[in-house]
């Protein structure tokens, strides 16, 4: 047992799976790490914590919050204690996500073409047609290699028994991967030698893999297709990520106003005239991407790009219309999709989910509202949620009325007690809840899941909401070699 006060004062919470501790003992994968920090004086840990913050600030790894016309630089909070995942756990995650993404891609192809899944009654048609992210414009569009989700981030959580569940699929423009890369580069600096000693797998091939996949999508018979990253611009909160990825891949970072469509081909405006673009890794949402087809007031997109895409003259990553597959109401049917399309049992389970459009489920949820988390199907970022265990009667009543009015827009899940992990806060180790977002790349050669991910932490004491917009932070995530 450890004599270090930093470790001794740590309070495990009952009925919560702690990633590092188990009834006072340190779990085996963390032993190496703990022995390295156990003898550090308290000032040294605080120094490391401050150094990490300074490194983020001086390297400009920040996002800007604009208030009263002035920009204030903020860093995405980073906790210095890494989250460790064993090789066996990773093996399961990798297999589970690969299976899931395969099924989701076939689903997207199916739903935008023949719709066997509806005809066979696996998913109710009304659920698809009432989904605001189902794009009729994508019907019968053939996308290169039948890949829709080139880049995806699937949110995983662990329950009180340490079992992984899928909480959410992010198949549109998932963000956070730059923090996976930057968190790692900060860890090198603050814990010298620890990464190699712990046999931690590297994450740095992510940009190379992504670039290789993007390059493979070029449709022109040329040796060097033009690949670009389309960003909404510097006022977007993920702008740092866009610049980082563009820099690491060595591709041009463009905005909608830099592009123009002529005769169904996309060009970028350069000092040497127009240059044709072959592949666009876009970080602009579907509804903003083409004002002629989607939101007419969008100035972030490119007029005419949809038709260039439809004609196959430009590849867009991720495909448009993926929102139908990561809709929270469709999520319930992903295990059925896996059985239907792949004839396999799902490796990773969903969190049990109640469709509130279903009368019996709704009744059950209303009776057990204090044990439920209720989510709007079309919102994300931790908004539009009701945590039953901390909601007031009034808040519950408001949600009941809203559910009665539009049951399709809500789902309910039993509150899963997210696993906790120690965070270094105010000079002590304190338990905070975490999730995990690994990033998967789907290219013509198959699915690659870079061994790492973004561990998001709910930094508010007792909170289970890990979203950065709601006071969440992140940790470096170590995947150990076998």
């Amino acid at each position: 047992m450890n004599q270090n006060s930093l470790l001794q004062t740590y309070q495990e919470q009952p009925d919560v799976w702690d990633e590092m501790f188990n009834a006072g003992d340190i779990r085996p994968p963390y032993k190496n790490f703990v022995s390295a920090i156990a003898n550090l004086p308290a000032e040294e840990m605080t120094h490391k914590d401050e150094m990490a913050k300074k490194l983020f600030m001086s390297q400009g790894i920040t996002f800007t919050v604009y208030s009263s016309g002035e920009g204030i630089e903020k860093i995405f909070p980073f906790d210095i204690i890494p989250r460790i995942i064993t090789a066996d756990e990773w093996f399961l995650i990798e297999a589970g996500l690969t299976q899931r993404l395969k099924a989701l891609n076939i689903f997207l192809k199916d739903i935008y073409h023949k719709q066997y899944v509806l005809n066979d009654g696996i998913i109710p048609a009304r659920l698809i047609y009432s989904c605001p992210n189902f794009l009729r414009e994508m019907m019968n569009v053939d996308v290169p290699f039948d890949i829709y989700t080139h880049v995806s981030g699937v949110d995983l959580i662990k329950d009180g028994n340490g079992k992984f569940f899928v909480l959410e699929d992010n198949l549109r423009t998932p963000s956070g991967v730059s923090y996976m890369l930057e968190n790692r580069s900060i860890t090198y600096r603050i814990f010298p030698d620890l990464l190699p000693k712990n046999n931690v797998r590297s994450v740095k091939e992510y940009p190379d893999l992504l670039y290789k996949n993007l390059l493979a999508l070029g449709n022109r018979q040329i040796s060097n297709p033009t690949v670009i990253l389309l960003s909404p611009g510097m006022y977007n909160s993920a702008y740092f990520e866009h610049t980082t990825l563009a820099r690491l891949m060595g591709i041009e970072l463009v905005e909608g106003r830099d592009l123009i469509v002529d005769n169904n081909h996309v060009y970028m405006k350069t000092t040497k005239g127009l240059k044709q673009v072959d592949v666009i890794y876009r970080r602009v949402d579907d509804e903003f991407i083409d004002p002629l087809v989607f939101r007419p007031d969008s100035i972030l997109g490119v007029p005419g790009i949809y038709w260039a895409y439809r004609k196959g003259n430009v590849a867009i990553v991720n495909a448009m219309g993926n929102g139908v597959a990561d809709d929270k109401a469709i999520y319930t049917y992903v295990p059925d999709m896996i059985r239907y399309y792949l004839n396999e049992e799902p490796i990773l389970q969903n969190v049990p989910t109640y469709q509130l459009a279903d009368g019996d489920s709704k009744k059950y949820v209303f009776e057990n509202m204090d044990k439920m988390v209720i989510k709007r199907t079309n919102e994300s970022g931790g908004y539009g949620m009701l945590m039953g265990n901390s909601a007031t009667e009034e808040e519950m009543a408001t949600f009941r009325d809203a559910i009665d009015a539009e049951p399709r827009n809500f789902i309910a899940q039993p509150i899963i007690s997210l696993s906790s992990t120690p965070c270094y806060i105010n000079g002590t180790l304190q338990p905070r809840r975490v999730d995990l977002r690994p990033f998967a790349l789907y290219g013509p050669d198959g699915i690659n899941i870079v061994p790492g991910g973004l561990t998001r932490v709910a930094l508010k004491e007792g909170s289970m909401i890990v979203n950065s917009s709601q006071g969440g932070g992140s940790k470096d995530t170590w995947i150990l070699m076998k």
Partner: protein, 310 residues
């Protein structure tokens, strides 16, 4: 290079050069205002480096107020503060085209000019050392650009912006000051005040080395207009502009390149082969004004032919 990126880098160069130029002018004006008994002298500068109406300018009554307005006022879009803010915003938008060091240098300058102590120092204690520090930050920026950026298009555009802005600035300040300094009663220039013009354009030391303390309007004009060893002379700026522009040949559409080459060459030669008579203030004014118009035409041509603006 993307037109928008080229435009942004070019303006980054212009804003930074403009800031340093204006700070030096303001510093010189401040020093001269402390040096001799004279009326409140800030009005012409408040007009160039601000957006106040004539009536509002009348209300500015102290040096401290004038300095605060031109250097730190956030509501004044021409203030040094806003120039630095715009520069940094520009740099943020094209971070992948400048070096990390340039970005961090600018980021530091931005945090420095936002420091609350700065306004106290300018208002109450020692404006000279504070403005000096600001100017040093600008010089550090130039050095960082020079030492860390690859000699690609980005480097070319930042320098095009810098030298075009410098030529405009030198022409403007000379035009304004020469008229101010001309004493109609004696039909000559006030020699002591010519020093301040030289100070304003970082040219005092070069002048002394070149002309050994003989202050004549003719020599001052020769230095500012034609001396190609003096980095703030108009001709030096034009030669640099031309040199950097030539690097764009391979990266340009031929017709655009020819158009700009013609304009830059014409302006440069108009200056090089001009004959100015310092005593003929009217034609001196007309010449400097025409130079300004030519420089603006170059700027507009860059916008049109290289930055895709119509």
């Amino acid at each position: 290079m993307l037109s928008r990126v080229a435009d942004t880098i070019y303006w980054l160069g212009r804003y930074m050069e403009r800031t340093n130029g204006m700070l030096q002018v303001i510093l010189t004006q401040y020093i001269s205002s402390q040096d001799e008994a004279s009326d409140f002298m800030w009005k012409p500068l408040l007009k160039i480096y601000g957006e106040l109406s004539d009536d509002e300018i009348e209300e500015v009554s102290t040096s401290a107020d004038a300095l605060e307005y031109m250097i730190l006022n956030r509501g004044n879009s021409a203030s040094a503060y806003n120039n630095i803010m715009f520069s940094r915003e520009n740099a943020r938008g094209i971070q992948d085209h400048i070096s990390k060091e340039v970005w961090q240098c600018l980021n530091d300058y931005y945090h420095f000019i936002r420091d609350e102590n700065l306004s106290k120092n300018i208002a109450a204690s020692d404006p000279v050392s504070t403005i000096d520090l600001l100017i040093k930050n600008g010089l550090l920026f130039n050095g960082t650009v020079d030492n860390t950026m690859t000699r690609g298009e980005g480097f070319t555009y930042i320098n095009l912006g810098k030298y075009l802005e410098r030529a405009i600035h030198s022409a403007d300040i000379t035009r304004i000051k020469m008229l101010e300094l001309y004493n109609k009663q004696h039909d000559s220039y006030e020699a002591p005040n010519l020093r301040y013009l030289l100070y304003s354009l970082f040219g005092f030391e070069v002048y002394l080395k070149t002309y050994k303390g003989k202050f004549t309007a003719k020599n001052v004009l020769d230095l500012i207009l034609y001396n190609t060893d003096f980095p703030h002379s108009i001709l030096y700026s034009m030669e640099r502009l031309y040199k950097y522009f030539c690097r764009l040949r391979e990266e340009s559409l031929p017709e655009n390149y020819e158009r700009l080459e013609f304009l830059i060459g014409k302006t440069m030669n108009n200056i090089k082969y001009s004959v100015v008579n310092e005593a003929d203030t009217k034609s001196l004014d007309a010449f400097l004004f025409q130079t300004r118009l030519d420089l603006f035409e170059i700027s507009a041509a860059f916008s049109k032919h290289y930055f895709g603006k119509t």
